[in-house]
């Protein structure tokens, strides 16, 4: 029983940023069909920006969150306007787009080191208080991360599934030409989505960064798992991503407790998810073209 509660509490609080970033990646994937490998750098740069604001201006961690979110959102929009939109306009195929995003990821991950330096950086914050939840010790940062994830997830869920804007987003995702004819402005909606996704990623990065350190590989180290959650959670609706993300977090926590080693947990997760994807694809044969 203790194992159970410990797994759930640790899983949800430690991996809250995973859920948050999965939501962001899923938003872009759902709208554009693109797996943006450079999203991992949105996360990393969010951590760096937050750390920079914190160390340069002396803001407390919570005060850095709003500017971090905004800056990350703008950065994400910038990558869309500067790289992905031009690529799409030149009719780049799916494979080419993925490689482009991979190139961008590499470029940002190394380029940032010329801005922020090579060594690992840290948020300058006092040690967080530890609160006991169901008799499991959790830092206030992680609790805030979980609360933020819930709030943002609900917000995004409401926007995408219930609001008029969400209707436009879903229309745009399924048929761009038709959407445009119906009076939806694709550029505006697309930019908005990239902004929201970027903000989500940047905040996830901040939560990760304040809890440990801020390093160039921060986002990339998580990317595979964020990606797996998005692929398995389904690009159909954000709810699936949230559920799978939560389950993944709890499963990782449980396995880490059991094996005593997070790497084995990650390995098990990779294998499980890839096999799941294979089984799911074997069952569904699409509508043929010949």
């Amino acid at each position: 029983m203790e194992f159970f509660t410990e797994s759930i509490v640790i899983g949800l609080t430690q991996y809250a940023p995973l859920i948050l970033s999965a939501i962001g990646l899923a938003l872009i994937y759902r709208l554009t069909g693109l797996i943006n490998v450079a999203y991992s750098e949105t996360i990393t740069l969010g951590a760096y920006i937050g750390m920079w604001i914190n160390t340069t201006f002396g803001f407390g961690f919570y005060a850095t969150l709003l500017p971090t979110g905004i800056a990350s959102g703008l950065l994400s929009v910038a990558t869309y306007l500067a790289i992905f939109r031009p690529a799409k306009q030149r009719n780049a195929g799916v494979l080419e787009m993925i490689i482009i995003s991979f190139g961008l990821s590499i470029f940002l991950r190394h380029g940032l080191q010329f801005v922020f330096g090579y060594p690992v950086r840290f948020y300058e914050v006092p040690r967080p208080r530890v609160i006991r939840v169901f008799d499991v010790g959790v830092t206030t940062f992680r609790l805030l991360a979980l609360v933020s994830v819930v709030v943002i997830a609900l917000l995004i869920y409401w926007i995408v599934q219930r609001s008029r804007l969400g209707l436009q987003i879903r229309a745009l995702a399924s048929d761009e030409d038709l959407a445009q004819v119906s009076g939806i402005r694709p550029l505006f909606v697309t930019v908005l989505i990239w902004f929201i996704a970027g903000a989500a990623g940047g905040l996830a990065g901040a939560f990760w960064g304040v809890g440990s350190n801020v390093a160039p590989l921060l986002g990339w180290r998580q990317f595979l798992f964020i990606f797996l959650v998005v692929m398995v959670g389904g690009a159909k609706n954000i709810g699936g991503v949230i559920v799978i993300g939560a389950i993944t977090g709890v499963a990782l926590a449980a396995m880490t407790l059991h094996f005593g080693q997070v790497l084995y947990a990650q390995l098990a997760l990779i294998v499980a998810f890839v096999v799941f994807m294979k089984l799911r694809s074997s069952r569904s044969v699409g509508a043929g073209k010949v």
Partner: protein
């Protein structure tokens, strides 16, 4: 034989160029022709290196050289090939995103195992005990000979890829990559074709990994990171994904500039080489991928010229 003229760094650099060229040629078959987005190149390369090392170092061989060495080399390639069969089976009917996550997941898994299975692999500290199967004199002489062997292997890979383009098999692979449903309607088994292509390519990557391991004398998990995959991919994309010579031109330009020219010939401050140059290298590789695919996606050499090839093979 006096090899004082041969700078050790220069040899390392050229070795690296040829190594990446071998990987790029195999990736050309998988990604350039069959359009399989293999982002896990380093996984097969590293698995081949570690499999070779484990068998060679950890087993108490009772037979004399060079058999333990040769058997271990073959083992490295075989293990990578079997892994390629398994991974290929998982990804061959997935969409591009699925292939990306499957191959990336595989490469990550290999890295994880290299770190966690310390008894086998030496973990983060590394695995030593790898040496050349011969000793003809000073280190440089041995390394030069081993480079010769690498060169011969990569030349063979080049010849194989060259012949594939001019064979019915190559036509099949191109057709499957170009329009898989249409190939299926002609009775071609697309899944099986991609599966075996992937496995054969992976075995080749594993062999190259084992060859690398011998040269490096020490295997560490840090060396099986994404930058190996990146280097092969940049070379291939820069030169032209769909062209055999694309891999050659692209890798010589991309990797050659950094690992040979910048490393050995540019008079830059020594302190730059520890951090700035490697970081700059990756940054420019990333930028190159973006620039080429947006500006001229077919790379420097452009698209396949099968009309010229058809005329040459079967007359006007």
């Amino acid at each position: 034989m006096n090899l004082d003229w041969l700078d050790a760094f220069l040899l390392q650099g050229i070795f690296q160029v040829v190594m990446v060229l071998g990987l790029a040629l195999l990736l050309h078959l998988q990604m350039g022709l069959a359009r399989i987005a293999n982002f896990g190149v380093v996984g097969f390369w590293g698995l081949g290196a570690y499999a070779f090392a484990v068998l060679f170092v950890k087993v108490d061989w009772s037979i004399g050289e060079p058999w333990p060495f040769l058997i271990s080399m073959a083992f490295g390639a075989a293990v990578a090939g079997v892994a390629g069969l398994l991974v290929g089976w998982l990804i061959a009917d997935l969409e591009t995103e699925g292939v990306l996550v499957g191959t990336l997941g595989f490469a990550t898994s290999v890295w994880i195992l290299a770190v966690t299975e310390q008894e086998l692999t030496g973990g983060a500290l590394g695995m030593g005990g790898l040496r050349f199967p011969f000793d003809i004199g000073k280190t440089k002489a041995n390394e030069l000979l081993w480079f010769g062997i690498l060169f011969a292997v990569v030349a063979l890979i080049f010849y194989y890829v060259f012949r594939v383009h001019r064979s019915p098999y190559g036509r099949l692979v191109i057709a499957v990559g170009d329009n898989e449903p249409l190939a299926g309607s002609l009775g071609k088994p697309a899944f099986r074709t991609k599966l075996w292509l992937f496995a054969v390519g992976s075995a080749g990557m594993g062999l190259l990994g084992a060859i690398h391991g011998v040269m490096a004398h020490l295997l560490i998990p840090e060396s099986i990171g994404i930058n190996v995959t990146l280097a092969a991919m940049v070379g291939l994309v820069l030169g032209g994904m769909a062209r055999v010579w694309g891999a050659v031109i692209g890798v010589i330009l991309a990797v050659g500039i950094f690992d040979v020219v910048v490393q050995s010939y540019l008079p830059l401050p020594r302190s730059w080489y520890t951090q700035a140059i490697p970081v700059l290298r990756e940054m420019i590789f990333g930028a190159t991928l973006i620039a080429v695919l947006i500006i001229k996606p077919q790379g420097i050499l452009g698209d396949m010229r099968r009309d010229k090839l058809t005329r040459r093979m079967h007359g006007g």
